[in-house]
């Protein structure tokens, strides 16, 4: 039976409705349980001594005074832990040529970025451990750091890991068509350099782990603020020499992750290793300073782009040369080559053209490692692509909306394969564009802009189309050899009182996954949503799954819940048919009651069926299946990824005297397929836009030439704050994926993907009459002012 999601009057119509989040009240009342809330008997606290040098040889470490300090239960160096934990090398087979060096939980003889752990202290309290860590004496021999990615491959630059031969960790070039020839002959060529600033995710809850190795059971239980419990189970097992079944990862409430918490962090593995050595629970909570220095960074790219067009403004070719610095190691196990790879995959993505060359060059350097952060590569690709489209529009005298109309892939062109070989099942660029133009009343806004400019007010409108990669198949990591599940499962169970428990392999990070699962399950089974309890984040109780990444929770986890819920419903109806002596096909479940199909006449509540099945099973026919627990799994197979699309617009005002930007309004129309909970989706988009604006205007992890991080605090590293954020108007076009019955694609990264491009184009639209153009992010007031020549160089 197919549910007609478009009929709002259908029974149990939770899919498509804004339903309150089941965990909202608990979290608001302060009754959440984050890792730091968990206190175990005999628990110790770990603190890490971190390298003050970006690159230094560790000559010797004297831990004597620290060992003697009050409350200290152990001091560990890299060499100490190397005996208990094997190092890792973050490469994937499908990223050809990717190389990295073995990385240990604590640096063994060389520190390679400011903040890398060089020793650990565990003590009865965190304060005691900090006091003791200050007593450790490390004899460093400072080495020349590699900081500038532009010179990382020069012969004079030291090679970070001599065994690798050079500082080039990955390079990929993709060519389709004949871009060189088209660039030579095309009537219109535009070119520009773009820079996106290195920044990080800044989760409200910092990275947190509590590892508890129980010698009597030979089991390691890890309470972990993570996006991917099953992936971490594999990692702990493999590197600590334990069977996977002897490792249990439990992920309770998580205070935001944004991709930051989907990676293997050396200090977290060290914490688990120390717990195994000591046989005691050990807790490590990163403070804000170490979060800035050791959470993964991202987006450190410089891109040279060229675009060829015909006289009518049709894109003929695009050429992208991308350079990125990823720190001293590729990050385990997803690798740090993915972001550059995504730039190659995604540039030009919304547009219909044939000739494409893109190359990414990924180099090593002595800064914090970079890896996947919300909308991996998308904001970079969108900024470059949309910046080039606007540049072309300017050169051709075309309106930014018009040039996009001429180039966006037609809505009836699907299935479509892009010049980067990305396969699109069904996108809605033109519908989305039309809806955006209508929502923002584009002509009126242009008129207002022109009128104000007469008065010396410089406002700008920026448009940015984008695509977003969601619902990944094993093509993302699995084919490269990583034990990262692209499949996900859900177990749905009916208890005697007719209530339902859903256990899922996707995880809750604060984004509302559990609300989504409850809605889907309630509708699939036919019970009130309040009667569904959701359990996520426990490798020992939930079905095996991938967790939260690449916008997969609703599309993959939601479909598994839908299938499991429907299967349970069938099983319930089979029992009901036997009890009511009628064919199951004549019955239905509506709001927790067995009813006659069609008339909705109530026959009995599910609690009666539960009572009979669980306590008076003797009254049912012998041999009647009575399975009120069902598990289903789901994996995508027709397409490597379910791409979504959307378009954003930004309206800004630039103060030409100061370079300050005021964000006046922001619009986004996006198509994530089936919308399960409109409010949650809208807030995902808004939160994503804010994070995108952060990268566009505010956030940058600043290093000096010695590799010192200059702004590792919330006063100097600027995150976007509510006061400066514009009103955001969100609209939807729904093109469900035909791969699943639910039809949902991901929505978590769309806002971040397109926002920086929209804001950049808006700023440049505002300052164009002043002769200015900025393509370096963050677009600080000073950079803007310099571009309009109001500041001496």
């Amino acid at each position: 039976m197919s549910i007609r999601f478009d009929n709002p009057d259908r029974p149990n119509s939770y899919i498509g409705r804004t339903v309150p989040r089941p965990n909202a009240r608990r979290l608001v009342e302060g009754r959440g349980r984050y890792v730091d809330d968990i206190v175990l008997p005999r628990m110790l606290h770990a603190v890490f001594l971190r390298s003050p040098y970006a690159h230094a040889r560790i000559q010797s470490i004297n831990t004597e005074a620290a060992r003697a300090a009050h409350g200290v239960r152990g001091v560990f160096t890299g060499a100490d832990l190397a005996e208990h934990c094997t190092p890792w090398v973050a490469v994937l087979a499908h990223l050809k040529g990717l190389k990295s060096a073995p990385q240990h939980p604590i640096a063994v003889d060389r520190a390679t970025w400011t903040g890398e752990a060089v020793a650990a202290v565990v003590a009865d309290t965190r304060a005691q451990a900090e006091e003791a860590a200050a007593l450790i004496e490390v004899d460093y021999e400072p080495l020349q750091p590699v900081t500038d990615m532009r010179t990382a491959l020069d012969p004079e630059t030291p090679v970070l890991h001599p065994d690798l031969g050079d500082n080039l960790t990955f390079q990929r070039e993709h060519v389709s068509g004949d871009p060189a020839e088209v660039m030579r002959t095309a009537p219109v060529i535009v070119e520009s350099r773009f820079k996106t600033g290195r920044h990080t995710g800044v989760c409200v809850e910092p990275r947190s782990i509590l590892a508890d190795y129980n010698r009597s059971e030979k089991q390691l239980t890890v309470y972990h603020s993570t996006q991917a419990p099953h992936m971490m189970q594999v990692v702990f097992a493999e590197h600590l020499g334990l069977p996977e079944g002897a490792v249990r990862v439990i992920c309770g409430d998580v205070g935001g992750s944004f991709g930051i918490k989907v990676h293997v962090y050396p200090d977290e593995v060290a914490t688990a290793t120390i717990s195994k050595i000591l046989g005691r629970p050990v807790k490590f909570i990163a403070d804000r300073l170490e979060s800035f220095a050791t959470d993964i960074h991202a987006r450190d790219h410089e891109i040279d782009a060229r675009m060829a067009l015909d006289e009518d403004g049709r894109i003929l070719a695009l050429d992208i040369e991308d350079l990125t610095g990823i720190g001293p190691y590729s990050v385990y196990p997803r690798t740090s080559a993915i972001e550059g790879n995504q730039v190659v995959n995604l540039c030009g993505g919304p547009y219909d053209f044939a000739n494409y060359r893109a190359r990414t060059t990924v180099v090593l350097q002595n800064k914090s490692p970079t890896c996947q952060y919300r909308a991996v590569g998308h904001p970079i690709a969108a900024a470059v692509t949309e910046g080039m489209v606007d540049l072309a529009a300017e050169k051709l005298g075309l309106d930014p909306i018009e040039i996009r109309r001429r180039n966006l892939i037609a809505d009836d062109a699907y299935p479509y394969t892009s010049p980067a070989n990305m396969r699109f099942e069904g996108l809605s660029h033109h519908k989305s564009l039309n809806k955006l133009v209508e929502m923002m009343d584009y002509p009126a806004l242009r008129a207002e802009q022109a009128a104000l400019r007469e008065n010396g007010v410089y406002r700008g409108i920026g448009i940015a189309s984008f695509i977003e990669l969601t619902n990944p198949s094993p093509f993302m990591y699995g084919i490269g050899g990583a034990r990262i599940s692209a499949q996900d499962g859900c177990t749905v169970r009916m208890d005697p009182d007719g209530s339902v428990v859903a256990m899922s392999g996707v995880t809750e990070q604060g984004q509302g996954t559990e609300a989504m699962l409850a809605q889907v399950t309630a509708e699939a089974v036919g019970v009130p949503v309040q009667r569904v309890r959701v359990i996520t984040g426990d490798t020992q109780t939930t079905p095996y799954g991938g967790g939260t990444w690449a916008s997969r929770g609703a599309g993959i986890g939601g479909e598994a819940a839908l299938q499991a819920g429907r299967a349970l419903r069938e099983n319930i109806l089979a029992v009901a048919g036997a009890m009511l002596q009628c064919a199951p096909e004549t019955l239905d479940i509506v709001e927790g009651n067995i009813v006659d199909l069609g008339t909705d006449t109530e026959r009995m509540p599910l609690s009666e069926l539960g009572r009979v099945v669980y306590f008076r099973g003797d009254t049912l026919p012998k041999g009647l299946p009575r399975e009120l627990v069902v598990t289903r799994h789901y994996i995508t197979s027709d397409y490597p990824f379910a791409f979504t699309n959307g378009i954003q617009a930004s309206y800004v005002e630039v103060d030409p005297e100061t370079g300050f930007v005021k964000l006046l309004k922001h619009w986004c129309v996006e198509d994530c397929g089936r919308v399960i909970n409109p409010q949650l989706v809208d807030e995902q988009i808004r939160g994503g836009i804010v994070q995108g604006i952060g990268g566009a205007l505010y956030e940058e992890s600043l290093y000096d030439t010695e590799g010192q991080l200059l702004n590792a605090n919330m006063a100097d590293y600027l995150v976007p704050m509510a006061s400066e954020m514009p009103d955001m108007i969100i609209g939807h076009v729904e093109t469900p994926t035909r791969e699943s019955e639910l039809g949902a694609k991901g929505a978590g990264e769309a806002g971040t993907a397109g926002a920086p491009a929209a804001v950049m184009n808006a700023i440049n639209d505002a300052i164009r009459p002043l002769g200015g153009r900025v393509t370096s992010m963050p677009m600080t007031p000073e950079r803007i002012l310099r571009s309009i020549h109001h500041l001496p160089e």
Binding site: R126, A127, E130, E131, D287, L289, E657, T658, F660, Y698, L702, L710, N711, N713, A715, D716, L718, P720, M721, S723, E724, T780, P781, E782, L785, H790, L791, P792
Partner: protein, 276 residues
């Protein structure tokens, strides 16, 4: 990081506070609202000191008219500054300045005396005191003295306060009819420390312009003031800022950008004074 302090003592009276400071032999620090101090303790930028808590001393409170000046107790919170009718009437510069200080939670706890003693060069209140030609009243176990605001701030987090001295109040000359008070600052985000700020007071004696965020302490733009107070043009005053100010570069802004913004602010503050 966890703060490392030698101890905490709540002063029962001002005399008790002096005794506590003396007993710690220089290893004590006064805490009131704690909005800067606690953050620095948590970064272990200052440690191993005895915290002497003066929050509960009534003699450090109050906003009153006293012998022809506006007297603000050292424990006056930023939120009180923003709302006090006497401040609005007699020193509206502070009414304007208070909402610019950090965020609501900080304004509810942070104190006037704390801000002045902390002497952050980018903070609003020290510059306001200089613009207002306020006097800072400080007391120690055996002495009381008054320090003119422009002599009080000596450098980065450094003041004329001596060991054992506590700020008890500030005295502010009353605004006369026709005087103009204006403060403007440029911050990346609401509540941030200013990249550049300017507090200006115009009275029959002329204009006083105190910049913040451009040096290691709040500074009077003496050259610009002289030009303006002798009938010179605004653009000549702007030119004089070149010598008045010597800002440095930091991750938030280059020195040139700060100079540029200082000029922009001067024009805007003077325009506000004319228009208000």
């Amino acid at each position: 990081m966890k703060a490392s302090v030698a101890g905490y003592a709540r002063a029962q009276s001002l005399g008790h506070a002096f005794d506590l400071l003396q007993s710690a032999q220089g290893e004590a620090v006064v805490i009131a609202g704690g909005q800067s101090l606690v953050a620095s303790l948590n970064l272990r930028l200052s440690e191993e000191a005895l915290l002497v808590d003066i929050r509960h001393l009534p003699e450090l409170r109050g906003v009153v008219l006293h012998e022809g000046v506006l007297r603000l107790g050292a424990l006056t919170r930023h939120a009180e500054l923003a709302q006090a009718p006497l401040v609005a009437e007699h020193a509206p510069l502070l009414t304007q300045a208070a909402p610019l200080i950090a965020h609501a939670a900080i304004r509810s706890r942070g104190t006037l005396g704390g801000s002045l003693a902390n002497a952050d060069p980018a903070a609003e209140l020290p510059a306001c005191m200089i613009a207002l030609a306020a006097e800072i009243l400080v007391r120690s176990a055996g002495n009381e003295r008054r320090i003119p605001a422009d002599a009080f701030f000596e450098g980065l987090f450094t003041t004329a306060l001596e060991e054992g001295e506590i700020i008890v109040a500030v005295d502010i000359p009353l605004k006369a009819a026709g005087d103009r008070h204006v403060i403007r600052e440029l911050t990346r985000r609401s509540g941030d420390y200013a990249i550049v700020g300017l507090a200006g007071v115009k009275s029959v004696d002329g204009v006083r312009l105190a910049y913040f965020g451009v040096s290691d302490k709040p500074v009077l733009a003496a050259g610009a003031m002289t030009i303006l107070n002798s009938g010179g043009s605004i653009e000549d005053a702007v030119s004089a800022l070149q010598d008045d100010l010597d800002p440095e570069s930091d991750p938030h802004a280059s020195a040139e950008y700060r100079r540029h913004l200082a000029a922009v602010l001067l024009r805007r503050v003077l325009a506000d004074m004319t228009n208000s």
